[in-house]
Each structure stands twice: as C-alpha cells, then as structure tokens.
Symmetry: D2
Subunit: 352 residues, 4 copies
C-alpha cells in the first residue's frame, strides 16, 4: 500500500494495446497506484517511455515514463496485478503470480473457463467472487487468486442481455459482431487487409461468445458454477473502426414481452452493486439510444467514459423475438476497464 | 435496332452511381447498344461528359461522351430502356415508358412488388417472365412492359439461398448485412458519418430483404405469384467499403443436411438457364471460397466480373441449422448487371 | 450579461460542423454563456436538439437541447455573436449584426481581408484589435464591430511560423496540406470520394493560405495594415482523416539559423499574451514533438485541448532552408476555438 | 527458353506484395514465362498456393499454384530473374545470381546507386544499359548482370519530370508525397496506425527521392554516370490508400516557360523507345488530366494498366516556377511493372 493509502498495482503486458489502456485508466485512480510495469516481450529493462510505442490520443502519464519495465515474474513490489498478457504465455505466468500470493485480475482468456475462477461482470454476477476461497483451497493458494473478465465482445453483449435475462429469461441469442481493430492488439490487423474491406473471421472469437455468457449468467451453487442454459450463435467480423465493437443481436425470450416492455427494461436497468459506488462503475451499465441510426462506434463509444453498453434499435424479429444493437468500447469496458472494475469490486468486498 | 443488329437501349438515371455502371457494362455489349441517356436531374441538355461526374476507375467510354442527356420522357429513340431512376420519380416515369411501348428493365424499387411485374433473377425464377402478357393485358400496354430486379442485398442473398431452397427447402433465414457505400448512390453517405465508424441503419432496407425473396422464390401459378412461405429477418449496416455487400446468414432448412451436403450443394449449383449462354451470366452463379476468412469485399467482389454470389465459411449454427457468408458486388450483380442479365434473358426468350 | 456575470453569446450557424464545436466548447465556459442559437437553414423554429444532427462524440450539452433555433437576424438577446455561417450568406448577415451593435467574432472568410477588420491570432497579432475603433468610425458602427480568425489551415501554419518569423525572419514558405474531412463541413465530402483515396483540390484554399498570413504577420501602422512581404506557395489535399490538418512546410529564412536554433526557437516560444490568462489559451501555442514520425492527426490533434500547433520533424531542406511538419485541430484551434480565444482577448482588453 | 520461344523467368521474393504483382503481370506475358518462384522466408518447399497469402483482387493464376517455392539460391532453372527481395538480403543474393550467370532485374534498393549498375527507366535513360558490359568486365560476371529500377515514388516523379527536363531544364524540385499502404509491403503498416490518420514518415524514402533522379537524369559518359545537377527536396507521408502514390510537386526550370508550354510539353511527350513496341510500355508514359481535382489514386491509378504517370493541376508557383501533381501506381509502374519493362527493353536490345 502507498503512503496515500492506495493499493500498489502491477500491470503484466503493460506495453500492449490493453496494457496501455490499463496505464491510462489507472493514472489517476483513487484506490490504485501503478507501482510496477511488466512485459513478456523484449522491452524488459527499459524505461516504459522507451519500451512502449504509446498509441493512445491522451499523452503517456508523466509518472510512468521512467518506470523500468520488468519481466513478468512474481517478484513485483505490488499488492495485486492486472494482466493483459498474450494468451500464449498468460496461463502459466498468471498461475505463478497467484501461487506467489498476488491477486491476479486478468483480461486474458486462459483461465476464464476454469471451474474455480470467476468470469466476472460486477453488474451481473458479483456473487461469483465467492468461489475465491474455494479456488484458494483447491489450488493451495495462500493470499493469491485468479479473477477474469470476459472477452471484449462478450462483455457488451452480456450487459445488454442482463436486463432481459433477469426480467424475461433467455432461450436463444443470435449475434453478429462488427469488431474494432484495437481488439486485435498491435500491430494486429494489417492495414492492407482492412482498407476498403471487412474481414469475416476472428480466430476463436465465435467460440468465446458462444460459451462465456453461459458461465456469466450461471449460478454459483454448492461451490460450483452451474451454467445458464440458453443457446448462443455468433458470427464475427473485423471492420475498419479503431475502437468500439458493434453487435447486431436477436433474442428469443422465455416469457412474452412487448417492445415497450423491452425498452422499459433496458431503461430501468440499474446496477445491483450501485450502492458500492465503485469508482469506475458507470452510473447506468446500459444506455438506451433512441435515434433510429444509433449506437455508432465513433459517436457513442465514449459514453459513460467507455464503461457502458450502448443499446439501440429495439424492434421485433420475425424469427426470434426481438432484435437490437449493442455497442461497447472494446479496450475500456471490454478489457482494461472491465478488469479495473473487477478489482474495485474485490476491494469493496474485502478480497484485496 | 442498329445496323449491326444490336438493340438500341436507353438508360434512365444515367448520371447516377448505378447509371454509370450501366454505361460501363453496356459499352461493349454484344446484343445492346447505348443509344440514349436520360436523367431526371438538371443535367438534361448537356453532353454526358459534362453532365456526369464519372466515378468509376475505368475511363468513361468514348462513345457516350458526346451523347446529349435527355429528360426521362418516353420519346427516346431506342428499343428498350434500363432504369435506375431514384425511387421518388421512378414509379410514374417507368410506367409512362411501358405505356408508350418500351420494355422497361428497372433496378428501382417502385414496381418490384407489383402483382403483375416479375422480380427477376434469371438463375432462380426465369419462368416469372411469363407474367408479362398478363401484365400487358391488365394494364393495357401494347409492346411495353415492366421487369424489375431485386434490391442489391437481396440478389446476393437469394443466389446463395437458391441451391439450399431447391435441395433442402427453407424455413427461416436470418441475415445481417455489412453494406458498401456505393449502395447509397452519390453523394450518398457523408464521409464524416463513416470514417472510423459503422452506421447501423439503412432506410427501408430490412423491409426489402424480408419481403423480396418470398416473391422471388414464389411460384407463378394461374397468372399470379404465390409467395414462398419461409421467414426472413434482416439487420442492415453500412460499413466503410466502396463496393461489395457482405452478408452473414443463418438458415433453418426444411430437411436435414450435413455440412458436407450443404457445401456440395453450393459447389454443384449451376444455372438452370446455362444453355441460353447469356453474355452477362456468370459461369457459376455461386462461387464457394474455402479459406477460413473469405469472402472479403476487396478481394472477392470482382470474381466472375462481379456477377456471382461468393459464399464462404459454412458451419453449423447452434440455433438454426447452418451459418455462412455471402458477398455480392452491389452495383454490378446487385444493380446494373442484374438488370442487363434480365434483359438478356428477355431477348433470348423472345420478349425483346 | 447573465446573473453569474457571464456575457451572453449567440452562435450564428449553430447547427453546422463548426457551430457544434462552438456549442461544445462554450458549454462550460467561465466567461461566456450560450444564450441564443441561430442558423440560416431550415432549422429555425425548432429546438436545437431536433434542428441539429449532432456529430461530436461528447453528448450534446443538456442546457442547449431545448433552445429554439432562431433565424440569423440581429434581434438576438445576447452581448456578442460568434459566426460560422456559410460564406454564401455570412458577409451581409455579419455586417448587419455589427451595424445593429453586436460584436461579431467570425470564423467565416468573407470579411477576413477587409482593410479595417482584424484577422486575429492572439499569440501573433493581438495589437491588430486596435483597428476596431477605426472600423467603427469608418463604417458608422456604434458598439458593434467585426473580428475574424483565419482559415483553419492558415492558423496552424501561422502559429508554427510565428517563432521563426520573430527570430529569423521569413522569405518564403512552401506548404503542402493534408486536410481533414471536418474542414468541409457536413455533409461535405462524399464518402465515395475519399474511401481509398486522396482528393487533391480544395476550392479557394490555396489562395487563402497564400494570402492570409501576410495580413496576420503584417503591421498595423497609421490605422492601416501593412502586409508582411514573404512569399507563400500552397498545395492542398483532402485526406481520409476526421479531424486534424497536417501540413508539410518548407521555409526560407531572412537570417541564417542552425537546426538546433530552429528547434530551440520552437521550444522557447511562449505566447506574448500569456499574462492575460485567457481561459482557452494553450499554455504553449507551439508544441514540439521529437519522435521521428510525429505529429500524427489521430494521436496529436487533442494535445492542449486541440488549441496548439503541433510541430515535428525539423530538418534541413536542400532547396529552401528548413522543412518541418505542423498539425492543428481544424475545428478547434482552426475554427471555433480560434474565435473563442479571439473573444477572450477582446474581453480581456475591454472591447466586450 | 520454353518451347513456345518465351524466356523462362524466376521471381525472387515471390510471396511478397511486389512478388505477387510480378506473378500477376507475368501470368500471360508474350515474352516471359514464369518458371521458378523463390522466397527468402519460411515458405520454401511449399507449393506457391500454400506459401503465399495472395492479396490481389484478381485470382492467383492457375499455372503457378502448384509451383514449389524454392530458396533464393542461384540454382533456378530460368533465363533471368526478377527480384523483389527485402533489402536486408537482396544485396548479396542478387550479386550471387549475377555472378552465377543470371541477368538480375531488381526492384530492390541495394544496387541502385552502384556506379556500374543502371537505374533504369526506359522512357528516360534507355542508353544507361550500355554500362552493362562495363559492369560485367569489372565484376568478372560472365552472362549475368544487374539492372535496377528506381524507388516507387521516384519513378512516377521522374516520368513527370522527363518532358520538363528535356524541354526546359530543371533547377530545383520540391515534392511532397502521399503514399499508399502497399508500398510498405505486407503486413507493413498496422491498421491502427493509419485509421483516421496520416503517418508523416517513411524510413529512407526522402533520401531515395532526393538521390535517385540525379542518376536517372544523368549522362553515361566514358563508362561512368555523371549525375544531373538539379536540387531535390522531398517530404514523405503514408496515407490511408491501398495503391497509388500521389505527389505534389513544384519545380524551378532552367529556361522560362508559360503554363501553356508546360501543359503542351506534358501532352506532347512520347516515349523515345516507342518504336520498340515493348509489351508493357504505356502508349503515353505521361497522361495529363484536365479536371481541377485530378489525378486521384482510386480513380486514376489503373489508367494505362497502371504503367503511366498521371499528371494534373499544372499552375504557377509563387516561389519556384510551376506546381503540379503526379500519381503513379506504386506496385505496377513503381515496382513490378517497372522491372518487367526494363526486362523487355533488355530483350529488345539483345541483352537477354
């Protein structure tokens, strides 16, 4: 803990696209203080300013410029770590940190579906953190543990589904995504591949979207997760947009609902953890746009500081029940911001 | 008819995005010769070279440069007219031409759903042209008549559905489109609206896609069209692509099929009108790409000179039966090329 | 004046691209309060929320949503007006407002070169406001007057030239611009014209850039402006960028300078009006980037809240003396922000 | 030589962006036949269809699909090689091929400025091939030799300068480039770096443009090149365009000329090697567009099959003498097409 009473945090994968968002969003955080930056690439040993090709349109925070990037090994001087390591290495490194006593708040996909790791969206399944003692017991962790947030497309989708799931129940969800370039990291998508083009394939993405929501909306019962039972079908595309995943959704509900009820349900939805006043929690997790041509990535991705799911165009579906759009900022609510909100929940609940 | 035995054609709406494609595609046509250019805007009276802001990457054909653009009134010296007039005026003008004895081959939406007008895709419903004598009788037309082609998104979708409809039957079709800018004409979409963005709304487009295929796949029985009975649900988006509509499709079939059967059905599909050897007919109306990330607009829209539907990524759908992609060149097969192919069918069948 | 002591301002052309920036930048201004919105288009009579297709990524300020858009006639209840009217109407309307007693702070081009109207960049020629009493006397204006800011490309260029002009003198300036889409207003550039393209022509732009700096860097002597005498040559292009004009500049100086001196001159340059502490003035009007590949529009246009000229890549020119880049946010420092800064100067100097 | 009398050619670097253009342009060449494909990456040993991620919008030619990609070693069964190897390896490999008896027609930069290697643009300095015997003698090459073509930006610039140089003489050339993404190869520029952006830096590019034209326009005298003596200053930028480098040029001439004379000189310019009827030579090496907003990359890059320099907007320059634009297709006339034309010249002149 710092002298100001903040928790000292480390960022694993600090030089990547999501790592930079962590740095940006944590630069003035009221509860957390960036103490350590680590990366698995060849940047270890250099000051962050030199190690990192900063790609955000706000300047690199002055405080982190001279921090020396370290290798991602569990010898960092911090109270917890955020991880956006590439999935090729995240699995083992994150487990090593947890074993060494660090709470690991991960954006990587490796442990998301582990049976004793929460796949956490605080507004939806905050109670899933109660698996943590089970996880620690099973794995022989002492203070350390693993908590994950979902895939960037899943988070926005799940936030939009939450009020429907809660009020009407879900039977089936069809989703077609139009995903932003930043979701592929840096250098990521080659410009020649996307200029005047759409790429209709993102590796493993459809599988993640078809799986993760079932754990998120599942119940934690008798120390295990019982997945939700609705069906999901996803089709994923990369479009020429810098930030902001747009998703065209169609849902079949358990119980009948009018269009007005759907709209009212989106409008009324508030976060069940509102009273915790988490610093990064949006005042409304779902924002309903009423214009006929919204949400749009460039115009709406920054709403609620990029932490809300922006919904629009609710209308009847001739095959399932209702169609609508949802937009989420993929590197904020879909990645770094999601992990930070998870850490805030854990802090508020006494896990940190 | 010209001295070379070609039919003289007029183009209504010749200065627009689709009008320019008509001019480009008809410049060296073996059966048709551009004799008249007409436009409803203020360009009438000027030579085409001056009246038209040519936006295609092949040069304006030399022959048409000095043609004087005329008002779209039925006093043109030609054997038939192609129309890509804006829908605000197309309805009446096209009817006036038909009444005055001109076969009208239209790309406009106004008469598509008229009960006595063919909504024609030669590879699917060539027999629908048999409604023409009925149309002429009912409307009191002499030599003239109206024939339409479907909406740009509908054509590519319908071509891809054709082999499935024929072999397995269709119960339901969900489609999410990512449509090109040229579909909105010129000036069309403002650049500020699409840079770093997706626009999730195209006026009337979802309605057209949900309606037109039912007429196309319907039967002509006792001088009337009996629509097909499957369900269609469409979600339409404009993306930052110049040409080529990409569509993510999921279908429920009447009869069970394996993935291999679906693929084989796409591969085997040949045009029932192949033996007519129409000059603009693609040798295969459906092209199956096998790469995991295709079709892509920039790489595949020019296949088969832009006249085929390019299909890819066939895979099981957890909710309906199968998912796949289809791409079509929206101003060629989706507009001007479709109308020209329709005219070729009519010529081959003795209607011109 | 409002009860809080702020000046009440009207915005002429409030629904356009620059008008929206005025609304955004004035929403929380410490000295000015938006009291009136006017537009010359058909939006008059409607509440702003309905009249305006808001295109900025921050939401429309709540306070202005219900303001009724008025016709741009000098009956507005405000202490001064900002104008971003289209140049087709700005000339007469602005003069009418000035005649009716309103200070008019204009971004339009019509009066920029009038011999008694300041073409103002506070950091460069703040003393030019002393022409105002002359203007009022000559034109018979009472309280009203006209003040203009330069063209969007000129402002960034002039700010970058200012330290060089002041320290070494200027003989010749060659500039090639790569200008953003928002500079053309809305709908402005058609998306089909700019996708995968550059448009090497912007009407009247080269003339403005070749003329305006001479007045800006000129002297106000004996109640008239004596233009500066260096040569300027401009080549203007539109590129596929939403905001931020990038300009490649080469200069010939009056007096010799080393590269290090040039760089130091950029670094040391401070605003001569710094002590006025104008709310919108950037702490440094010129920001020097040292990376070899900066400034870049997307990464650097928001520096200093979009109010600075961002300079980079200073290097010797084999033909003139030195080459460098300058980037300016065209709708902030290049338009609305420039006018607001002008108004702040006028207020600080007692003209409002 | 093949049975059809064509020369058998190998392509070094066949899987890259320029390598693919070589394959595309040579697929139906009347004089050359693709016999060997080689690449320095890990693709050797695989059939070309598998080794190469084909990125052109025309399909991969059927004939080359099954050709096995070989390592770039001088054991290829062919009469000459084209090279688009990366400059990190091209220098030594190309020399090894020349030493082993292969004529090497290279697009790589390594040997361009070697004092005994032609930097060839057939329409400008066809006589420079006479250095070849000198090169062979000096280097001890037997049949083999090295010939290079200039950098992609240089070629279009040089073609546009040629008529001016010939008629009026050149004193100084300022050029600002807006270069296409394909110039950086594949994957090349990251999409996140160019979306809504311009990158004002291309490594070594300004140096190449400032140097290469002097050799091109130089004289071959007494077995050595005497460079031309005018000054060149270049500023280079990457813009969001797939193909086609646009360059804004200003020139100072040796002898006075009116604008009409400049225009007429562009119009009259014909290739001095026209009578050789080289298959890839454009009928006019310089095409003058007269519209006020041309040339544009997307609309004009395919003119003359991408083999011409397209010039436009000739106007007086207040600092030097005249300003104009030039556009060239960077992977056709600026790379693969340039090398092929060089090979055609060598064949016509008996060097192959």
């Amino acid at each position: 803990m710092t002298s100001s009473g903040k928790l000292k945090v480390g960022i694993l994968g600090a030089t990547g696209t999501v790592g930079q968002r962590f740095v940006q969003l944590l630069a003035d955080h009221p509860w957390f203080d960036i103490a350590e930056l680590a990366a698995s690439d060849r940047s270890a040993g250099q000051p962050y300013e030199r190690a990192c090709r900063w790609k955000l349109s706000t300047p690199m925070p002055a405080r982190v410029k001279s921090l020396i990037v370290k290798p991602p090994e569990p010898e960092l001087a911090c109270d917890l770590v955020f991880s956006s390591l590439p999935s090729s290495v995240a699995g083992e490194i994150e487990a090593a940190f947890a074993r060494a006593g660090y709470p690991v708040i991960s954006n990587s996909s490796n442990h998301r579906l582990d049976e004793d790791v929460p796949l956490l969206i605080p507004e939806i399944n905050a109670d899933h953190i109660e698996i943590i003692p089970v996880q620690q017991r099973r794995r022989g962790y002492d203070r350390g543990f693993l908590v994950t947030n979902p895939n960037c497309s899943t988070i926005a989708l799940a936030l939009a589904l939450a009020p429907l799931h809660q009020t009407f129940g879900l039977r089936a969800v069809m989703v077609t995504t139009m995903q932003a370039l930043s979701g592929a990291g840096y250098p990521g998508v080659a410009s020649l591949d996307i200029v005047d083009n759409v790429i209709p394939y993102i590796k493993n993405e459809e599988e993640k979207i078809q799986t993760e929501p079932l754990k998120i909306f599942g119940a934690l019962t008798d120390d295990r997760f019982v997945p939700a039972s609705f069906q999901i079908s996803a089709q994923c595309h990369r479009v020429n947009v810098s930030d902001g995943h747009l998703e065209a959704v169609s849902v079949k509900l358990e119980r009948p609902a009018t269009r007005e009820e759907i709209i009212e349900t989106f409008r009324q939805f508030t976060s069940p953890i509102e009273e915790l006043r988490l610093p990064s929690a949006p005042s409304r997790p779902v924002i309903l746009k009423e214009e006929e041509d919204r949400p749009q990535p460039r115009l709406d991705r920054e709403l609620a500081a990029g932490m809300a799911a922006v919904v629009g165009r609710v209308r009847a579906c001739p095959i399932l029940d209702y169609k609508f759009l949802v937009l989420g900022h993929n590197t904020i609510r879909g990645a770094a911001g999601a992990a930070i909100l998870n850490a805030e929940l854990l802090k508020a609940k006494g896990y940190l």
